[in-house]
């Protein structure tokens, strides 16, 4: 039987041995076995040249694996360039690959052309020079196209309008959260930048702001790629980023669409009707490899600030998971590769393949996400809630438009985001576009709504009967 006395074996069991091994006896590069090593990756030592070559090979391997799902034969490629280390490295690698192919070793280059796409975030963040990022692309003769964040509020045409959030808390008997919006022409005197800042100011937390920023950037990148007639978009997500995204997206309630957001390929980024295919070819390189690659190839990059730059760890979910994953990876070097291997095995569930798209993030929206939210513990019992209607003042509406519900068109995570947003917040113009697309494509099925409402009512009456037994 198991003896509880202290034996040497028992003492050493609880602690996992930390894996940082330094100064191994045979100090030579493991690949060429001739040169002195300059870097240690996952306990293997590499010399500078072998390391650079290995990184290039990893990139090309990842790219060729994704090539099996290429949309057209000779696609035009747009490289998403944020200016940070990973995307700058990716641009260099892609340009180098294209140059190599054009030199004539391949019968026909796999990709027709390469351009760079950048989203200018100076409306929200200052302290970095946007021109430097275009210089990075210009230095290797790549055209750089720029979209500005505030473009999502640039209204054009006479059908132009915005969706404004109207937050109504309804008295007991119906569902807890109702996401109602109304059409508004928006304040045309306010410049797009102001409207953008108002949107972010109206969001609840730093996590929500980062989420909304990601959504807007994805939309703008997809639109840039479409405008440049590129069928393919390359996203600069390193292995470390993918590992921490996996954890943070799950924490934010994006598990339903997770394979699309961290996977090697995303069949459509942006709406399903007019999206582009996106690859993540840097997924096999961890941040350390990218940093050293940039150092030794003298690749310039720019530090682009975000909401949580310089903030403590607990500023947002993303920040927390990043420091968790990076900290773990330092002591246990196979953390990030193991997580990335798991990521590659993820597949969309069958419901996700046929689900409607969320009008905010364009990811599959789980039907009955509302039911999940209703099962959350409430702080205040519904019977004590008073009837509140927070209707924000909206200017310049020609005819009084009533608010309509969009709950069924929102994914779980976007519902959480809007739940904590202030009423009167105007959503970017693409949300209305997505809503119109879906409304014309498939009229709302009233039968389904009725069944839902019916079961809700039955559940509600049952709850009222046993309410007195609740603690």
């Amino acid at each position: 039987m198991c003896d509880a006395t202290d034996t040497p074996a028992m003492e050493s069991q609880p602690q996992l041995q930390k894996e940082r091994v330094v100064g191994t006896p045979s100090k030579l590069c493991v690949k060429c076995k001739a040169a002195k090593p300059s870097i240690s990756i996952r306990r293997s030592l590499y010399c500078r040249d072998c390391f650079v070559r290995a990184s290039v090979t990893k990139f090309r391997t990842a790219l060729s694996k994704s090539r099996k799902r290429m949309p057209v034969a000779r696609a035009r490629v747009m490289v998403a360039l944020s200016g940070g280390a990973t995307s700058s490295a990716m641009l260099q690698l892609m340009a180098d690959y294209q140059r190599m192919e054009l030199k004539g070793y391949a019968a026909e280059p796999t990709y027709a052309s390469v351009v760079a796409g950048h989203v200018d975030e100076s409306a929200l963040f200052s302290g970095y020079d946007d021109a430097q990022i275009c210089d990075i692309a210009a230095a290797i003769d790549i055209e750089c196209r720029v979209a500005r964040l505030e473009d999502v509020f640039a209204l054009e045409g006479d059908r132009a309008a915005l969706l404004e959030l109207v937050h109504a808390t309804i008295a007991p008997g119906t569902t807890r959260d109702q996401f109602c919006v109304q059409l508004t022409r928006g304040d045309e005197s306010k410049p797009a930048r102001e409207q953008l800042r108002a949107l972010f100011a109206g969001l609840g937390s730093a996590t929500d702001r980062e989420d909304m920023l990601d959504i807007i950037k994805s939309f703008l990148l997809a639109r840039l790629a479409r405008q440049a007639q590129c069928e393919l978009l390359l996203l600069g997500d390193s292995g470390t980023r993918i590992a921490s995204k996996l954890v943070s997206l799950t924490s934010r309630g994006r598990g339903f669409s997770l394979p699309l957001e961290v996977g090697a390929e995303t069949p459509f980024l942006g709406s399903s009707s007019s999206g582009v295919m996106a690859y993540r070819p840097m997924r096999d390189l961890i941040m350390k490899e990218i940093a050293f690659f940039n150092l030794w190839t003298r690749q310039p990059s720019v530090v682009v600030p975000t909401f949580t730059t310089g903030a403590p760890e607990t500023a947002s979910i993303d920040r927390l998971t990043e420091s968790f994953v990076v900290g773990l990876d330092r002591d246990f070097v196979s953390t990030v590769p193991t997580v990335c291997r798991t990521v590659q095995k993820l597949e969309l569930c069958p419901e996700a393949l046929t689900a409607a798209q969320c009008i905010v993030c364009s990811m599959p929206a789980e039907a009955n996400a509302q039911a999940w939210r209703n099962r959350l513990t409430v702080n205040v019992a519904p019977s004590e809630q008073s009837l509140e209607h927070d209707i924000a003042p909206s200017a310049d509406i020609q005819s009084p438009l009533s608010s309509f519900g969009v709950t069924a068109h929102l994914c779980y995570s976007c519902q959480s985001l809007l739940h904590f947003a202030k009423p009167g917040v105007a959503l970017p113009a693409f949300c209305l576009e997505n809503y119109r697309e879906q409304a014309t494509a498939s009229p709302p099925s009233d039968a389904e709504n009725d069944i839902d409402a019916d079961s809700q009512q039955r559940r509600e009456s049952l709850r009222l009967r046993i309410e007195e037994f609740f603690i």
């Binding site: 940082r20 100064g23 300059s38 940070g84 530090v303 310089g310 403590p312 990076v326």
Partner: protein, 179 residues
């Protein structure tokens, strides 16, 4: 010249530093900078460095000042270490010029200096108040910060225990916010 010999007392930080090796005050570091040090509250270093003849206040270039060559430096006991803080690390350092290039002159007569001590020292003198936890943690550097010694990963050469040599170039780069 004599200021180098007597050094000056680096004010002890509130955290206890002693872990068996020499404390900062005992080591008597003298930091030579390319620009006059900004005034730090209660910092004896600033007062002495400003009056020290080794600081060339009119020099605007980054890089080692001429006055360094004029000092009668005993090569065996004094090391010159050049440090750089790039790719996001400059947000933690007190000013941009220091972050681009900063040279330390270190007295190693009593005991050689290793990376652990350098990290501690940088954390006390160069890092902005309140950001120490983003730079060093538990006697070591924060995860996510790469240390490069003479263009080589520090993990290849003994990590924290690496003993600094004269003329070493140590670069700190941050890989968080990689984009």
């Amino acid at each position: 010249m004599s200021s180098l010999e007597k050094g000056e007392e680096i004010p002890q930080s509130k955290d206890t530093l002693t872990n068996g090796s020499l404390s900062m005050a005992e080591r008597k570091y003298h930091s030579v900078v390319t620009k006059p040090l900004a005034k730090r509250k209660g910092s004896a270093v600033a007062k002495d460095a400003a009056s020290s003849e080794t600081v060339d206040s009119s020099s605007k270039d980054s890089g080692v000042t001429e006055s360094l060559d004029k000092e009668p430096v005993d090569k065996k006991s004094y090391l010159r270490i050049r440090t750089k803080y790039t790719s996001g690390m400059e947000l933690l350092i007190r000013d941009k010029e220091t972050a681009l290039d900063h040279v330390f002159e270190i007295n190693v007569k009593a005991e050689p200096m290793n990376m652990k001590d350098l990290i501690k020292y940088v954390g006390e003198t160069l890092v902005l108040d309140g950001k120490q936890s983003a730079f060093s943690r538990e006697e070591s550097i924060c995860p996510g910060i790469m240390v490069i010694i003479n263009e080589c990963d520090w993990e290849v050469m003994d990590d924290l225990e690496y003993v600094l040599q004269d003329g070493d170039v140590v670069e700190f780069i941050s890989t968080l916010h990689g984009g």
